[in-house]
Structure formats: structure tokens, C-alpha cells
């Protein structure tokens, strides 16, 4: 029995390892290699020309790239934080509801039913300056007479894509935090109430520490998955106008396929992977700390 034990987790993990190695790691090695070549899709022979770090060097001196990089970090920071706050609020609102829980929970997850590409089309249309829903509503309500160019003005365009992103992803936080709230034992809250804690104190010292790991799970999952915002931004502005909403992924996408410069694009993609890793490791550490705090076994 003793000899069998160490291999059990390995066996249990084996299927996951095989699938991920085949579908993620192997292609990654291919693309890592190609980031050292001047590979152009339309000229397959360039796949075999080795240029060392030239792609990486040209990225380092590319101002547009670094603007996109900074903008991506900003978007991630703003969107993830707002999503967590809103998700927490939403989960608590739903948890407190006495009736219609099932319907409310389903509705809460409603934006998750929208394919990101659909979210992109839909918000692009809603934010259209001439015939979009948002401007029509503002004008009909007499709030403004102008056609606000939501997708054009530097800050407005950034806000518009953030809104679309936040609308589509807050649900993920809400549902995970709700799951945490529901899994939470009721005694500590009762005890806190008996001890005379205010609702805020109960939340701060009892509920939040328990829910925090779930929030961090959501945060980490989202930071892994945030590149799906690519579909939204691609449709809404595609990084424009004049590069004002250019993100890493739109830049990579355009360089890779439209310009067909796959080697360069893969080098850029590696920077964006590094960024994702940084975010993920950060939240992962927070998650571990949160778990340690509530005494979960690690």
C-alpha cells in the first residue's frame, strides 16, 4: 500500500498532463522557435532562417508596442478590480434575496452566455455615435445634444471597451463568490451576530476571509483568461483609431495574420504570455496567503 501511494496523484494527473502537453506545450515550442525566425506566412521557406533575437530586439525599440503593453496592463488592472468589486456586490445581493434564487442566479450568469465576439458586435453597435443606443438614450433624455464619439475619443474609447469587458466578465466573479458564500458555514455568522458585531464587521472579519480564496480563484482565472477580451476589442475598435485602444492582442493578431509576419508576432506573444504569467503568479500567491489565513491545508 505504501509503495503505491506516491504514484496515485501522478496517475490522477496524467490525463491532464498529456492533453496539455499535446495541445499547448508542443505548439508553444513551435511558436517559440518561430519567434527566432523572420517567418512570414506567405513565404514558408522563411521558417528555416534563424535570426536569433532580432525580433525581440526590434520589439524592444518599438514605441507602439510598449504603449500597447502599458495599455494592456492598465486595462487588466482596472477591469479585474472593478469586476471583483461588482461581482462581490452582485453575489451578495443575490445571496440575500429570499425569493426567486434560481432565476436570479441564472440571470446573474446571463452575460456568460454571450460569446465575446457577440459582446463586441453588440457594444460596438450600442456605442455607435450616430445611431447607437447609448447616444440615442442620452439625446432622448435630454442629457446631451451632441453625438458623443464613444469609440473615438481617447479616454472614452478606452472606457467603452472596459465597460464591454466588465459587463461580460463580472458574472464569473459573481458566480464564484456566490458559490463561496453558499458553501460558507452559517455558525460563525450567527456567532458574530450574537457577539454584537455590526454587519460591516461581520462582513469584514467573517465573510470576507472565507470568500477571499474564491475571489482570488476568480481573479486568477480571469487574469489567465483575459486574452479573450481580444475578440471584444477586435470587433469594437481593433485597436484604433490611431492606435488609441491598441492592446497587445490586437497588435499580435494584426501582425500575425494581416501582415503575415508570424515570427515577429510570436515574439510579441511571448511578451504577452510573460505579462499573463506575472499577473497569475501574483494572484496565485495572494490565493495561497488567503488560504493559509483561513487555515486551509496546503
Amino acid at each position: 500500500m505504501k509503495g503505491f501511494k506516491p504514484s496515485a496523484p501522478f496517475l490522477l494527473l496524467l490525463p491532464a498532463i498529456i492533453v496539455l502537453a499535446a495541445v499547448v506545450v508542443l505548439p508553444l515550442i513551435l511558436s517559440l522557435y518561430s519567434s527566432f525566425t523572420p517567418f512570414r506566412l506567405t513565404r514558408p521557406e522563411t521558417f528555416f532562417v534563424f535570426v536569433g533575437f532580432r525580433n525581440y530586439l526590434s520589439i524592444l525599440s518599438n514605441a507602439d508596442f510598449w504603449w500597447a503593453f502599458g495599455r494592456t496592463v492598465l486595462l487588466l488592472t482596472i477591469a479585474l478590480n472593478l469586476e471583483m468589486l461588482l461581482g462581490l456586490g452582485l453575489a451578495m445581493l443575490v445571496e440575500k434575496a429570499t425569493r426567486g434564487q434560481r432565476v436570479l442566479r441564472t440571470l446573474m450568469m446571463f452575460p456568460m452566455m454571450f460569446s465575446p465576439i457577440l459582446v463586441g458586435f453588440q457594444f460596438k453597435f450600442m456605442f455607435n455615435d450616430n445611431i447607437g443606443l447609448v447616444n440615442n438614450a442620452l439625446q432622448s433624455l435630454g442629457i446631451t445634444q451632441d453625438a458623443i464619439p464613444w469609440l473615438i475619443e481617447g479616454h472614452l474609447a478606452f472606457i467603452a471597451i472596459s465597460i464591454a469587458e466588465i459587463w461580460s466578465s463580472t458574472s464569473i466573479f459573481a458566480i464564484l463568490i456566490l458559490a463561496g458564500l453558499l458553501a460558507m458555514p452559517k455558525e460563525p455568522i450567527e456567532a458574530a451576530r450574537v457577539d454584537g458585531c455590526t454587519p460591516w464587521q461581520t462582513f469584514r472579519y467573517v465573510t470576507w476571509p472565507f470568500v477571499m480564496p474564491f475571489a482570488y480563484i476568480a481573479m486568477t482565472i480571469r487574469s489567465l483568461d483575459v486574452a479573450r477580451a481580444y475578440d471584444i476589442v477586435k470587433i469594437m475598435t481593433d485597436g484604433g483609431p490611431a492606435g488609441r485602444t491598441e492592446l497587445l492582442w490586437t497588435l499580435v493578431g494584426r501582425t500575425a495574420y494581416s501582415d503575415a509576419r508570424m515570427g515577429l508576432a510570436n515574439a510579441m506573444a511571448y511578451f504577452s504570455i510573460l505579462l499573463s504569467i506575472a499577473f497569475t503568479v501574483y494572484f496565485y500567491n495572494k490565493l495561497a496567503a488567503a488560504r493559509a489565513q483561513i487555515g486551509a491545508e496546503w
Binding site: V19, A22, V23, L30, M109, F110, I117, L118, Q122, T280
Partner: protein, 289 residues
């Protein structure tokens, strides 16, 4: 004394009203774009695009839906094929991803082994690769294997996409199930396998259900990989099908909204059904820290 009671009641009532209003507003913001899509799918284009806007629909019709199911050339798209592909690919890959996720999650939650932390992080990090960076190398591999434009290829890709995710979630939920429960069952004569299915699985079911919902919705809505790995009605999924309504110069907004509704309804129904399990597992109140 009376005063205190009355003011307490008042506070409580205010809170209830505030809660209801807050909840209503939140749900409104969430649902508005959806309602608008449904409306747009029923209105003629001229009304959708009207300036000044037409707020109250004047003419409603199911024309867009009728057209969608008509033949090619009459405004139809092969929606049934897309639907079938989406369903097969999403359901199969969800089932596999959840099975793999249960195995992996259980390993992380219940065993100690060397390099556990690093292993866990490593698995998660495979998810950091953006679809756009993965799509071409994956395409190369698939061409060599001959599984471009097949269900198998898509299922494989989506399983890989979801596994880190399901492992993580399920791990978290297994952690919530007290270890003593399973140990007690084992002392009572169950094997570890039996203890898992009879004690730990039912308790972790809400977690597994939510992992399944996540995985399913991710597959159902994924676009970046699908647009590269699918080509024809053999495997094209609904999100890729949305682009059938865009041509070089035009977008048929109404048709696209109609297809969006067709996409959203099954996802919504399924979520509603799975919701029951999510609740069912929790009502017993057996989960204690």
C-alpha cells in the same frame, strides 16, 4: 422601547427596499443588452437603424428566424449544422474536461507530493497562452495529424482549454469537503474509491456543477481557436457562424441578433437546469468547516 422597535423595523424595511432596488437595477443592467438583442431580431432593419430612434417597436415579426432556416440564397445559413457541431463539441469536451478535472482536483486536494505547488502553477500557466498565439502552431500540428475541421480536433483543443480551469475549481471545492468525512467512511469499511463516490463527490457536486457550467459556456462561446481550426459545416460552430451575417461591405444586424438568440437560449436553459444541482448539493447544510 417602542421607539427602538419601530426604528429597527423601519431600518429593516429601508434595507429591504434598498436591497430590492439594487437587485433590480443590477439585473436590469445585466439583461438590457439581451433584451435589446431579442428586440432587434424581431424588428425590421429600418427601425433598428432609425434616427431619430424608435423606442416603441412598431412592427414585430419572425422574418429573421424564418429566413435563417430557409435555404441558402434565401437568407438562410446552415444553422442546424452549426448547432449540431456546437452541441457535440461543447458537451463532449465538457464531460471529458470535468472527468480529467475531477481526477486532477482530487489529487491536489487530497494528496501531498513533491513539487505539488510548482506542478499546480505549471498547469495553470498553460492557460496563459492567448488563443491568438496558439492558433497557428496548433493549426500546423492539426494539419499534420489530419484533424483540421473535425469534431475530434475541436474537442481536444477545448479539453485542453478547460482542464486547468476545472482542476482548479474542483480542487477548491474538494478542499471544502472535510477530510474526516471520507476517512470516517473508510474506517467504516469503504474503499477509497467508494468513499469518494459516496461521500466526497456528493458534497463537492456544486463545485463540479459550476466547473461544468464554466467549461460548457467557454466551449459554446469560444471563437479565436474555432475560427482557425474549423472550415466548413463539418465542424463550424455557432460563434463562427455569426460571421456568416457579415459580408465584405455589410452586416445583417437583424439576422445576427436572431442567431445570437438561437445561441443564447440553449445555454440559458442548460444553466437553469444545472443550477438545480448546484442548489441541491448545498441545501443539506452538511458542508461544515
Amino acid at each position: 422601547m417602542m421607539d427602538e422597535n419601530a426604528s429597527a423595523r423601519l431600518t429593516r424595511r429601508t434595507l429591504t427596499v434598498a436591497h430590492r432596488v439594487g437587485l433590480f437595477l443590477a439585473m436590469l443592467v445585466i439583461c438590457l443588452p439581451g433584451i435589446w438583442i431579442v428586440l432587434s431580431s424581431l424588428r425590421p432593419t429600418v427601425e433598428i437603424m432609425a434616427k431619430p430612434p424608435v423606442w416603441i417597436p412598431q412592427q414585430l415579426s419572425f422574418d429573421a428566424y424564418v429566413a435563417m432556416f430557409s435555404g441558402i440564397g434565401k437568407g438562410g445559413i446552415p444553422v442546424l449544422d452549426y448547432f449540431r457541431n456546437s452541441l457535440i463539441i461543447s458537451v463532449t469536451s465538457t464531460v471529458i474536461a470535468v472527468a480529467i478535472g475531477m481526477a486532477g482536483g482530487y489529487a491536489f486536494a487530497r494528496y501531498r507530493f513533491r513539487g505539488k505547488s510548482g506542478m499546480f502553477l505549471g498547469l495553470m500557466l498553460t492557460r496563459t497562452v492567448p488563443g491568438i498565439a496558439l492558433s497557428l502552431p496548433l493549426f500546423f500540428l492539426y494539419v499534420r495529424l489530419g484533424i483540421i475541421d473535425t469534431h475530434i480536433g475541436m474537442i481536444l483543443a477545448y479539453v485542453a482549454l478547460n482542464v486547468p480551469f476545472t482542476i482548479w475549481l474542483i480542487d477548491g471545492f474538494f478542499r471544502q469537503v472535510p477530510k474526516d468525512l471520507a476517512e470516517a467512511a473508510q474506517i467504516d469499511g469503504c474503499t477509497r474509491w467508494q468513499a469518494f463516490w459516496q461521500v466526497e463527490f456528493p458534497l463537492a457536486r456544486p463545485g463540479i456543477a459550476s466547473a461544468a457550467i464554466f467549461a460548457f459556456l467557454t466551449c459554446w462561446n469560444e471563437f479565436a481557436l474555432a475560427s482557425q481550426l474549423t472550415r466548413s459545416v463539418n465542424s463550424k460552430t455557432l460563434p463562427v457562424g455569426l460571421l456568416d451575417y457579415t459580408a465584405e461591405f455589410t452586416i445583417d444586424w437583424r439576422g445576427m441578433c436572431a442567431l445570437a438568440v438561437v445561441m443564447i437560449i440553449p445555454a440559458l436553459t442548460l444553466t437553469y437546469i444545472v443550477q438545480k444541482h448546484l442548489v441541491g448539493g448545498l441545501t443539506s447544510g452538511a458542508v461544515k468547516g
